[in-house]
């Protein structure tokens, strides 16, 4: 398998990696950088557990090759609050019991972060629409939507 040297920024840190052509961005994050907060739920772009921000846009990292991230900026759940604290959305997910098994949580947080970046005051309908690609089997989504609304009303992602 041909490998490629790529450079990219992950959670604020510059990385240089040699990656095989067929390595997905998800595999690169989890297996090369040990950023295991990003989850593998289906490897088919169906569940959203692997959602990361690529240049600020939410993408399914299982559906992208690592080489496509060359020269770009990736944010994972580990990078949502780089100072070691919690982002307002992370705080709100905790305060609203929006977490159960936790496996969808990283992807949910990423999609919600992207939503609030582009639309700081979303309606309930807009929140649900923004999270439709992130499946959750535990919570029934109720608290997740509540948490995003609360974070928005407190003014930030």
């Amino acid at each position: 398998m041909t490998t490629h040297a790529i450079t990219l920024t992950v959670n604020g840190a510059k990385e240089r990696l040699d990656v095989p052509s067929n390595l997905t961005l998800l595999q690169m994050l989890r297996d090369k950088l040990a950023l295991t907060g990003t989850k593998n739920g289906c490897e088919a772009g169906e569940c959203g557990a692997c959602t990361v921000l690529l240049d600020g846009e939410p993408v399914n990292s299982c559906m992208m090759l690592a080489v496509e991230a060359d020269g770009r900026e990736v944010i994972t759940v580990e990078g949502l609050a780089p100072d070691g604290g919690l982002s307002p959305l992370q705080e709100a997910f905790m305060a609203h019991n929006a977490v159960q098994c936790g496996f969808c949580t990283p992807g949910m947080l990423i999609s919600a972060t992207a939503l609030l970046e582009r639309n700081p005051e979303p309606t309930e309908g807009e929140i649900k629409e923004a999270l439709v690609g992130n499946l959750c089997r535990c919570t029934g989504y109720v608290r997740i939507v509540d948490a995003v609304q609360a974070a928005a009303s407190e003014g930030g992602a």
Partner: protein, 791 residues
């Protein structure tokens, strides 16, 4: 935490909605799941070769081409694994021997240096099959002329409360006989009967199964060396026990480690593919072997909820008193029923649903079919049987002109009633649940529809469920104090997202008299270090493990009070602990727990010391459950207890499209005692959406048993867009005699009757009954068209 005493804290946390103990780890991405564990460069990868046929004889397996491939380390087949494995009925080969019984059954396991090599090599394993006629319908499968799946059924080991019928495909037959059903029909004013069909559905946890097996180089039957399985598990101890028996490994050398579980719903209970990783690792001792299910494998190669065909007939008198019920439940158990047999049994001893019916004839069968393995799923048989029962109750009420909620109040089980098995039901208040649920949707008032082509309807359904388990499943707990008076609670129960660790920490803190924030619950669960737990199933953890944790905390508290009382020259009876400080009601002396819980306290005048590291232990096991008579299902105590509840649904049907818009679900359960009220609400919300989603879900197969929709696009689960307009949760607290602070479980119950409550509301809206699941807009639209054409 530098000094826990200076942190904000919660006194006496039982009954308070304290924050989840695991939330911080989960929102930061630092919570470790099985796929996140690191095993270093020695890690090998496994891939299973699966059967393409629903039912076939294996004529030959050729692994030599696969073995020749560079990077392939081993190929394991059924010839390498001689014993079966199973929970209640030991009917399942770990890798198929001689015969395959469903599409997707593991036939061989390839171990290689990378996932890609394993996948490529798996395609080089060639298997020659001779196809056999297959069974897909459980009722047809139960007939004497059906093709036989398990000719050796009579030779399998089986638990003493499960009754297979060798020579047939019936792996369990539970009989319930009470009163005189035949005589009672003549006294009935109204009789309704129906046939109800439910398809196989899947748990669809967002985390697929992952298992990593490792045999230490020196692992053998001797005392040195371990065999370890790391996996996402609801049942680490049950898996250890089953593998120990099947593979002949001493329990003490077999270690199952389960980190956080990314959703279980029963699918990670018992044992499925995990044991394959262990037998594959045996071929490459010293190397861990990782086996991770693809989403397609998760659908067909782990386990599914059983299908059901139910024939049910129920009658009542003119005043609305239920008099008689006759029912046959045929559960489609799939290819292996090692766990599923107990679902049919549970459906048998609870076959009436939450109703007092004096004359009952019930037959509940688990039947082998050539489909994925039917096993535990949230509700364990109860969602399946309530689908029909709850629709018939509405039809009976309509026939005698009674309000369906009132009909249920009149007939539902009440504290100390002698129920169908002859046991007295422990305290429950189902009437209060019905009242609260119906009030919440303005029962009896009709609502304006939102458009002229839309119609509103309301429906109610009630439920019961007992923990379905062997008579004596145990729980154990250890409570250890640290120097700073923080506490580590060790249990073998797992947090699947339901909040078990939070609730256990609350109970430990309450019983010890320390703040909630001082308590940690040890994760991962590790059979080598954690105390015993049967399984995290049956909604039994709050109750059973809760009792063990409470006992362990009280044991630690007793040790502390003895030391301090000795130090003060007082009676322990006069002492108490609050907010981490021991005090005396008599002398008003105070002693903080810090340090003394490890180092003890000096005797008077420093003449030596008393005490030492405080370690409390506790256990709980129900000791009172009896066997039931094989012919009648009668006995003194069939189960430990029941949890009951009511759901009421307000929905709207678009008559142009058949689409269902669930406006509101009100859901109320008798929880005994709400240890953490908000966590109950989150279970109620998640359960209502899971229950609603399940009404639309089905695994589809073609006529040869090939699965048609094993992916999340063609098998849709509810998304954020599908959530009902409002979910109103509430609870009733009728304390359970042997529950910790009176508590009983509620995690599974919250989805049991959502589908039939919807069906009753759909009937209320459009006057059409649907006896088969799944529901769909298309089905409703076509039924509306047919109704229009007929009128």
């Amino acid at each position: 935490m530098a000094n826990p005493a200076s942190e904000p804290f919660t006194s006496e946390p039982v009954g308070k909605s304290v924050p989840r103990i695991d939330a911080y780890e989960k929102v930061t991405g630092s919570a470790v799941y099985a796929d996140d564990m690191q095993f270093g460069p020695g890690l090998y990868y496994g891939r299973l070769v699966r059967s393409p046929h629903a039912h076939a004889l294996i004529k030959s397996i050729n692994v030599s081409t696969a073995l020749d491939m560079p990077g392939v380390k081993a190929v394991v087949t059924g010839a390498d694994v001689s014993n079966n494995i199973g929970l209640y009925l030991i009917d399942r080969p770990i890798l198929a021997r001689d015969r395959v019984r469903y599409v997707g059954e593991p036939v061989a396991g390839v171990v290689a240096a990378s996932e890609e090599i394993a996948e490529d090599a798996a395609q080089l394993v060639t298997v020659e099959y001779e196809e056999l006629p297959a069974v897909f319908d459980p009722e047809k499968g139960a007939q004497p002329e059906a093709p036989l799946l398990h000719p050796d059924l009579g030779k399998y080991e089986v638990a003493n409360f499960i009754f297979p019928k060798p020579g047939t495909n019936i792996s369990e037959h539970f009989k319930l006989r009470r009163g005189d059903v035949e005589a009672a029909w003549s006294r009935c004013t109204a009789i309704v009967e129906g046939t109800f069909r439910l398809p196989q559905i899947q748990h669809v946890p967002i985390e697929p199964h992952v298992a990593v097996g490792l045999w230490d180089l020196e692992a053998s039957a001797a005392r040195s060396g371990d065999v370890t399985l790391w996996t996402c598990s609801q049942s680490p101890f049950a898996q250890r026990d089953l593998m120990a028996q099947s593979l002949g490994i001493p329990h003490g050398n077999l270690r199952v480690v389960s980190p956080y579980v990314g959703g279980g719903f029963g699918g990670k209970a018992g044992i499925s593919m995990e044991v394959c990783a262990v037998v594959m690792a045996r071929a490459v001792k010293g190397h861990p072997v990782k086996l991770r299910m693809t989403r397609e494998e998760e659908f067909i190669g782990t386990s599914v909820r059983q299908s059901l065909v139910a024939h049910t007939k129920i009658g009542c008198d003119a005043e609305g008193n239920l008099l008689a019920m006759e029912t046959q439940y045929y559960f489609g158990g799939g290819a292996y029923n090692d766990y599923g047999v107990n679902i049919a049994r549970a459906a048998g001893y609870s076959c009436t649903g939450p109703y007092l019916i004096p004359n009952v004839k019930g037959d509940s069968y688990c039947v082998y079919t050539n489909q994925p393995i039917g096993s535990a799923m949230r509700g364990f048989g109860m969602p399946e049987i309530h689908w029909g029962i709850e629709q018939i109750m509405d039809q009976l009420a309509a026939k005698i002109g009674m309000d369906p909620a009132e009909f249920r109040r009149r007939n539902c089980v009440k504290t100390d009633d002698t129920i169908l098995t002859g046991m007295k039901i422990p305290p429950v208040d189902l009437v209060a649940c019905i009242d609260k649920a119906t009030e919440a949707i303005n029962w009896g008032e009709s609502e304006e529809s939102s458009a002229t082509h839309k119609v509103r309807g309301k429906g109610v359904a009630i439920m019961w469920k007992a923990p379905a388990m062997p008579p004596n499943p145990g729980s154990a707990a250890i409570v250890r104090f640290n120097e700073d008076a923080t506490v580590n609670v060790s249990i073998g129960a797992q947090d699947l997202g339901q909040g078990a660790f939070t609730v256990m920490a609350q109970m430990a803190a309450q019983a010890l008299g320390v703040p909630y924030e001082w308590v940690r619950v040890s994760v991962p669960v590790d059979t080598k270090y954690s105390p015993y737990e049967w399984q995290t199933v049956a909604s039994r953890i709050t109750w059973s493990t809760g009792n063990a944790v409470r006992a362990a905390a009280l044991d630690a508290r007793r040790q502390i009070l003895e030391v301090v009382a000795g130090h003060w020259g007082e009676d322990p009876e006069d002492l108490d602990i609050k907010d981490g400080v021991v005090f005396s009601y008599r002398s008003e002396e105070e002693q903080p727990l810090q340090n003394m819980v490890v180092y003890g306290l000096p005797n008077e005048g420093f003449e030596g010391w008393s005490g030492g590291p405080i370690v409390g232990q506790g256990r709980f096991m129900p000791t009172y459950v009896t066997n039931l008579d094989f012919e009648t299902g009668q006995g003194t105590r069939a189960v430990v207890h029941y949890t009951v509840g009511a759901q009421a649904v307000d929905l709207e049907i678009d008559t142009d499209t058949g689409e269902i818009d669930v406006r509101k679900i009100a859901s109320v359960y008798d929880v005994g005692k709400a240890i953490n009220p908000d966590l109950i609400m989150t279970q109620i919300e998640g359960g209502a959406v899971h229950g609603m989603s399940s009404a639309y879900e089905a695994l589809y197969f073609d006529e040869k048993g090939q699965p048609l929709n094993p992916n999340m696009v063609d098998y849709r689960i509810a998304t954020a867009m599908d959530v009902p307009g409002e979910i109103h949760g509430d609870f009733v607290e009728t304390p359970l005699d042997d529950g910790p602070w009176g508590a009983r479980g509620v995690g599974e119950h919250v989805m049991v009757q959502t589908a039939p409550a919807m069906a009753n509301a759909i009937y209320d809206a459009v006057g059409i009954r649907f006896s088969d699941l799944p529901l769909s807009a298309e089905k409703i639209f076509l039924a509306l068209q047919e109704k229009l054409a007929g009128s």
